[in-house]
């Protein structure tokens, strides 16, 4: 399909200031979108309150508004500029929320402005828990069981249905305060009661616990002709329970069998169709029970996300750029791949290397803060590295973080010198190391190294950390290699 000529000008909404969970990945996507749409001859109008972004350089748009991103201010810009369309999928959750607010309040209708990239209905289906659950049920996919409750009676009914352990998440509380996991009924009552009190609207989500399951993400794109491609699979090193933004992630997925991967791939294609994202990219998260292989769909972002930036850099496939082109009517087979020039964007990328991303935290700036990782993201940045193997990429990523480490230990910065530990101290240190590994925390991988140096087995470490044995085996190989190196001299 050729590009649309019925629209002449497009407003792109940026993501505003850098906050935890929304960093410069949206400057990257927004900048790409601005460039592409202008190349295609559209008048580009941009709003972003963040002056440190490249997208707000006056050369990148026809009209650049460094103004607060609120529905009222955006409405003023719409009134003044009268764009034909809004592309809300480049500026993270901020942009999507604004677009939904403007649609709901009738502003878009008033000015005759169309949402491109993601339609209102698709956004709502992806973001509203109950609509999403229904949509998944309709295509025969499971999502975590559970629902919102307002009273103890309702909560107990849900507990009866899904069984313990159960996660309790109060609505509209900051930092997940008042939430937690209940392992017995007594604890469940206590936590629900506490959750109801902490929630300003006395609402709590009671949900099946998938903590410890394996976590995956697929980056998917779809065009108006219903072509769907999978750009990249990403596997989380840390199991479910740790926010993706706080997890070490690896691309492509390393521990799925081809059959499992194909099942996930088919599911992703069904999901993007069912939710109805017609043009553009989406990020879909899955969890797999390591015991029985049961797969559930966690969530879907009907927009460019932090993971899309990672997937773009990991594969060389410019997701935001292609998404912008799809939004104005092109189809995947019509867009050439810049890297090869020969293949179109409908060719799925192939990777013959391994990519590892590791987050970076700045807890020392916040006295008294709990550094345990959980469902709310706490990291402020990340480093990515590419290598031929997981081992190479992993150690490169560790030294890329610039926290004074030059790989997985053996760099003079280790907390414990296990190789030179007096025999009598080993048990004590081993207990310390294993205790620490019970909770997901920054730098746990260094403790995994200590554990292997202390002779802990892969099975034992898996039981404690729920990190897939394949990753643990690779870490053990690094540790064994280090040990071999001590056998040499220079």
């Amino acid at each position: 399909m050729p590009k649309r000529t019925d629209i002449k000008s497009i407003l792109i909404i940026g993501s505003g200031p850098i906050v935890i969970g929304q960093a410069c990945e949206f400057d990257y996507s927004g900048t790409q979108a601005c460039k592409v749409l202008r190349e295609e001859g559209y008048r580009v109008i941009l709003i972003n309150s963040n002056p440190a972004t490249i997208m707000t350089d006056p050369e990148l748009a026809d009209a650049t508004y460094v103004e607060p991103i609120t529905p009222a201010v955006v409405e003023k810009i719409l009134e003044k500029e009268r764009p034909d369309a809004i592309l809300p999928t480049m500026g993270g959750q901020t942009a999507l929320n604004i677009a939904v607010a403007l649609a709901d309040s009738g502003v878009l209708e008033k000015y005759g402005i169309e949402l491109i990239g993601a339609k209102l209905e698709a956004i709502k289906k992806a973001e509203d828990r109950e609509l999403f659950q229904d949509a998944m049920n309709q295509i025969g996919l499971e999502s975590p069981r559970g629902r919102f409750i307002h009273t103890m009676e309702e909560a107990l009914e849900v507990a009866e249905e899904i069984g313990l352990p159960i996660i309790i998440r109060p609505s509209f509380t900051l930092g997940g305060t008042g939430g937690g996991t209940a392992y017995n009924l007594h604890e469940f009552r206590e936590k629900v009661e506490h959750g109801l009190t902490s929630s300003p609207i006395r609402q709590v989500l009671v949900e099946e616990s998938v903590i410890g399951w394996k976590e995956y993400e697929l980056e998917v794109m779809r065009d108006l002709r219903d072509n769907v491609v999978i750009i990249c699979s990403i596997e989380n090193f840390d199991p479910m329970g740790v926010h993706t933004g706080d997890s070490i992630t690896v691309a492509p997925a390393q521990t799925l069998t081809d059959k499992e991967y194909q099942v996930m791939r088919d599911a992703a294609i069904k999901i993007i169709r069912q939710i109805g994202v017609e043009t553009g990219g989406s990020n879909i998260q899955f969890a797999i029970n390591p015991v029985d292989g049961r797969m559930i769909v966690i969530e879907m972002n009907p927009r460019v996300s932090r993971s899309s930036a990672l997937a773009s850099k990991a594969t060389g496939f410019p997701i935001a750029k292609i998404a912008a082109k799809l939004a104005v009517g092109y189809t995947l087979d019509e867009i050439p791949n810049d890297i090869t020039k020969e293949t179109p964007a409908s060719f799925e990328p192939t990777i013959d290397y391994c990519v590892v991303k590791i987050p970076r935290w700045d807890f020392e700036k916040f006295k008294g803060v709990d550094d345990t990782l959980g469902v709310q993201m706490k990291s402020v940045g990340e480093a990515m590295a590419i290598g031929r193997t997981f081992k190479e990429a992993f150690q490169k990523a560790l030294r890329s973080l610039e926290q004074g480490r030059f790989g997985l230990g053996a760099d003079g910065k280790d907390v414990f010198d296990i190789r030179n530990l007096p025999e009598g101290k080993r048990d004590e240190i081993k207990k310390k190391v294993m205790d620490r590994l019970k909770m997901p925390k920054p730098n746990n991988v260094f403790y995994m190294r200590y554990a292997f140096q202390l002779g802990v087995s892969i099975d034992e470490l898996f039981r404690v950390t729920k990190v897939d044995p394949w990753f643990l085996y690779n870490i053990k190989q690094i540790v064994d290699c280090e040990e071999e190196l001590y056998g040499y001299t220079v």
């Binding site: 200031p17 309150s49 410019p318 090869t340 020969e342 990777i351 590295a385 031929r388 290699c481």
Partner: protein, 610 residues
């Protein structure tokens, strides 16, 4: 595993196979040097001698099935190098690495601008960075991208392979600067300000000597190597003092101490002091106004991009303070002092490229606090505020252009008619129960900008952009410490009163306001009874909280109030100067509403539309 048999013979000299395996497993030269008790430099030499050097592979989307046209590379220890060196003139720009508090997107902006500028000069640009979120790691941005760690080893490997004219280290924040000296020791040509200039700016003794020579005022300072020594030095300098360890940058673990006990306490809990790791002690200029200047120097002329005035008083990290450009409370004479000092310092340090200087003004005297001969966090803000791409200009100057032939020598930022305000954004809502008061340690993650033709409107926009939309009516909770119970506070309160706000305060502040004819209700502190101030905030009765920190004894109250305000999304102001500027913001919002105007219109001088 069978290879383990080797461990039994400790005398085997490392073989090529062993070295290669280690590198393929991702071990760095630093790790290997540590394992074998050698140095990174010696290890590198040995590794090259036995022929273990990296090759560069291409990220091509197709596992080499088709030919790739975009040079996007990573290193590995394998056969066949796919990165072809061209014979063009080329420059390597080092990126900023992972984002962190104190080093974020601003530096990526500078790097990308550096790339654009050099491309315009016909130079091939090579980017090295490892942060996947950035524009600098978009393969479209540069001629060549190496997605690699920014360590000495990895950068040298690429340098060896590419043989560029030089390396730019001054755009990526602390990351590349940290390795600049070592790069130079390995024969790498650093473009821009020499490491000598950087060293003078960073070495307190040398910098102090320079300031004395130039007769530029600076706050008293000293260095201490032990706890007792620290107390002595602080007493000599005079209280209050700003105290911090020497070996961390970006305001980490910095504190303001008002007496010897506080210094002792700080030394005990915060610092691991030793002769190698001294602590730095500076006289803290209390109630001073602070300024930031960003400039570009080509060795001969100096272009002042802009002068920003911090809205919060001294003692709050410049990255956490909001600021306004042009400055609004400084005399012509002091402004002239700032200019002259900037020009003299840039020339004395032989700066080629960007320089950022922080100043404080107290009792009509301008003091130099800090000089950074490199891109600063404020470069993008200034560039957007004045409409001049400073980072681009700096990059061109670094490859030999002059300010004169770029036509920017006589630029005057004071001719810019609109007002720009920068406001910081904090992650407190993600970290329940951490202290919410600002201090010398930077904690903001990002920033927003408000632009308008009036100061008040720019403030209102910046606050709105940062998510603290200022209220236009309702009740204000106000609590100020004893030293703030003065005319300034009354003035501010009267301002809010004129705008139709009413007040509620705890006992002390309430009595103070009432005694001066400003009606104010009284409310319980958290531990005095109920309903107390936190109840009022939670009930949505308070639209704005003005709370200047009272110190240790009321910390519990302040935590509770701060957190209630954050949870209820009530605007929360912790300094008097911010409270004063908010008055102006609210006033403007009430009278004119918010006007929108594009950067392109500002540059052409087109007025705003309401």
């Amino acid at each position: 595993m069978k290879q383990n048999s080797k461990i039994k013979d400790p005398l085997t000299r490392v073989t090529r196979e062993a070295m290669l395996k280690a590198k393929q497993y991702g071990f760095s030269d630093m790790q290997l040097a540590h394992i074998w008790g050698s140095t990174e430099k010696a290890l590198r030499q040995l590794r090259k001698e036995i022929g273990v050097i990296p090759v560069y592979k291409t990220v091509d989307t197709c596992a080499a099935e088709f030919e790739a046209h975009t040079p996007y590379h990573y290193s590995t220890y394998d056969q066949e190098n796919e990165s072809v060196r061209t014979d063009r003139k080329k420059v390597i720009i080092l990126g900023g690495g992972p984002n962190r508090i104190g080093q974020g997107i601003e530096f990526d902006y500078c790097c990308v601008h550096g790339v654009y500028a050099l491309a315009e000069e016909g130079i091939e640009t090579i980017m090295i960075n490892c942060n996947p979120e950035t524009v600098s790691t978009d393969y479209d941005t540069t001629d060549k991208l190496y997605f690699e760690p920014l360590t000495l080893e990895d950068v040298l490997n690429i340098y060896d392979h590419e043989q560029p004219l030089g390396v730019i280290v001054s755009f990526g924040g602390q990351t590349p600067l940290k390795i600049a000296k070592s790069l130079e020791d390995h024969g790498v040509k650093i473009l821009g300000t020499s490491s000598e200039g950087i060293d003078i700016a960073e070495d307190r003794e040398r910098f102090g000597a320079l300031l004395r020579k130039l007769k530029i005022p600076h706050p008293m300072y000293g260095t201490a190597y032990s706890v007792t020594n620290a107390v002595l030095v602080a007493e000599q300098i005079g209280f209050p003092v700003l105290i911090r360890p020497s070996y961390v940058l970006g305001g980490r673990a910095m504190e303001i101490c008002y007496n010897s006990d506080a210094v002792r306490e700080y030394m005990k809990k915060a610092v691991d002091v030793s002769p190698d790791h001294p602590v730095l002690i500076d006289r803290f200029l209390e109630d001073a106004f602070e300024f930031d200047v960003d400039a570009v120097c080509d060795g001969k002329d100096v272009l002042i991009g802009g002068v920003m005035e911090h809205i919060e008083e001294a003692g709050i990290h410049s990255g956490d303070s909001s600021c306004v450009l042009p400055p609004y409370m400084i005399s012509e004479k002091n402004l002239e002092d700032l200019k002259i000092h900037t020009v003299r310092l840039a020339k004395a340090l032989k700066v080629i490229g960007l320089i950022n200087i922080q100043y404080a003004m107290k009792d009509g005297v301008v003091y130099v606090l800090e000089v950074n001969p490199r891109a600063s966090r404020t470069v993008p803000f200034v560039s957007k505020a004045v409409g001049l791409p400073l980072a681009k200009i700096a990059a061109k100057v670094m490859v030999g252009r002059t300010l004169e032939d770029l036509g920017v020598k006589d630029f005057d930022y004071q001719k810019v008619k609109h007002i720009s305000v920068k406001e910081a954004v904090f992650p407190f809502s993600k970290f329940p129960r951490v202290p919410v008061f600002l201090g010398p340690e930077m904690r903001s993650t990002g920033e927003v900008m408000g632009i308008a033709s009036e100061f008040g409107a720019a403030i209102a926009k910046a606050q709105m952009g940062a998510g603290n939309t200022l209220p236009t009516e309702g009740k204000i909770f106000i609590s100020v410490n004893n030293s703030d119970k003065n005319e300034i506070t009354l003035e501010i309160a009267r301002g809010y009163e004129r705008l139709g706000f009413s007040f509620v305060a705890t006992e002390g502040t309430s009595r103070f306001l009432c005694e001066h004819g400003i009606p104010c209700e009284s409310v319980y502190k958290v531990n005095e009874g109920r309903p107390n101030i936190v109840d009022l905030i939670k009930n949505g009765e308070i639209k704005l909280v003005i709370n200047t920190p009272l110190g240790e004894e009321s910390r519990y109250d302040e935590y509770s109030i701060g957190w209630a305000a954050i949870e209820q999304k009530v605007s929360f102001i912790t300094t008097l100067s911010a409270a004063a500027s908010a008055v102006k913001g609210i006033e403007q919002q009430k009278s004119h509403g918010i006007e929108v105007r594009s950067l392109q219109e500002y540059q052409k001088g087109i007025p705003a539309t309401t």
